[in-house]
Amino acid sequence: MTEFLTAALGFILAMLALGLVSILRGPGDADRMMAAQLIGTGGIAALLLLGAVTGVPAATDVALTIALLATFASIAFVKKGLPQLDADEAGSTEDR
């Protein structure tokens, strides 16, 4: 079972890396903002599998922390990444 989970973990990590390549290369900043989102899902999946493989149950707590802070990072991406959004009265433009 451990072998299988390790292989799945390696596969998901490779997918994560490929996804990051395409995101970081991507033409606009909006593409790059997806990076934290990608880590928020793929990274957590990898971390949970790693906890099961390595026999560290506390890895779940790390995943919980990353889930919260990746969300925070994504929000900050959107708020700060596009200055025009923040400058011209963020409230009205963002909520329509």
Binding site: G10, L47, A58, L68, D95
Partner: protein, 316 residues
């Protein structure tokens, strides 16, 4: 080559590739995004090294708060980028820098790989004295008891950093509020998230603090989650950043190191030495009191460090 070895090589390769991107990317904003991704992936290595306490801290700081700090600065400094990009040093400088970096990296790798076997360690001593505090997590024991002086001074460093940041305010904004005032409509998506997530985040933060006594976790990791939740509420426009001149704010800022210092002096007056804790049944409650005072200080300090220097006067 086992499956586990291949996995470790994939993990190291992904992390290093992100490191290369962080250094080599042309735009600063893109490089910073790469650093955030790097900071959120390094915890996997720490978990693999069986250091979950550090993994928690790296996840909270490296990826979360630190990444957001650098990202905000990159967005604000964007107009200055073309001017400074022209100052790239010449080929000779770059080549010699690359040479020096490779040499230092090789020396470090050799030093780590050629450590004497078995490596010198203080772990047995840390385990032998664990009963003195009543805490089961050895890392918390080292942080809060055996090297308590380091932890106390670390809080003083945080305090000095916030004093340094605040002293950069212009005369007009002295003692005022940091950052812009965010505004958002009452029915926006962001406001929805900022109402839903912080209660969960606060529970998780307190859980991480509480579990730190016996399992990986602790005041700093919990405090950074609380800080992130606070900033989320501020970014959604539900509340404003506090004026840095406020008395209550300053009281919270010194609560952590203050309580630590009082307990330490108590050890000097009633016990054998500075920061000496009393015998087992009383040590754990004292440490918990310090941790609770520290977590509020850490949450407020980290949040204000991210918010930056005051930019608006108190009324604005």
């Amino acid at each position: 080559m086992t499956v586990a070895t291949i996995l470790e090589m994939v993990l190291a390769a992904v992390v290093l590739a992100l490191g290369v991107w962080t250094i080599a990317a042309r735009e600063t904003f893109a490089a910073t995004v790469g650093y955030v991704a790097y900071g959120l992936l390094v915890p996997l290595i720490w978990v693999r090294l069986d250091a979950v306490d550090v993994a928690l801290t790296e996840a909270a700081i490296g990826g979360g708060l630190g990444g957001v700090l650098l990202l905000g600065a990159a967005a604000r400094l964007r107009p200055s980028e073309p001017a400074t990009a022209a100052e790239t040093p010449g080929k000779i400088v770059r080549l010699s820098a690359a040479g020096a970096s490779v040499m230092i990296a090789a020396a470090l790798a050799a030093a780590v790989l050629l450590l004497p076997d078995p490596a010198p360690t203080l772990a047995p001593a840390a385990v032998a004295n664990a009963s003195a505090t009543g805490l089961a997590n050895p890392v918390t024991n080292v942080l809060m008891a055996f090297r308590a002086m380091d932890t106390m001074l670390e809080k003083v460093v945080l305090l000095l950093a916030i004093v340094g940041v605040w002293s950069l305010a212009s005369d007009r904004a002295w003692g005022g509020r940091p950052g812009p005032r965010h505004q958002a409509g009452p029915h926006g998506v962001l406001v929805f998230l900022a109402r839903l997530l912080p209660p969960v985040g606060i529970v998780v933060g307190i859980y991480i603090l509480w579990t730190g006594a016996n399992h990986p976790g602790g005041a700093f990791q919990g405090g950074s989650i609380l800080a992130a939740m606070w900033l989320l509420v501020i970014m959604a426009g539900l509340t404003d950043t506090p004026a840095v001149g406020g008395r209550w704010l300053r009281l919270v800022l010194i609560a952590g190191p203050g309580v630590f210092l009082i307990v330490g002096l108590g050890g000097l007056c009633f016990g054998p030495a500075f920061l000496a804790y009393p015998l087992p049944p009383h040590a754990k409650p004292l440490i918990l009191i310090i941790e609770v005072a520290m977590v509020s200080t850490i949450a407020v300090t980290l949040g204000l460090l991210l918010a930056g220097a005051p930019e608006r006067s108190d009324q604005g």
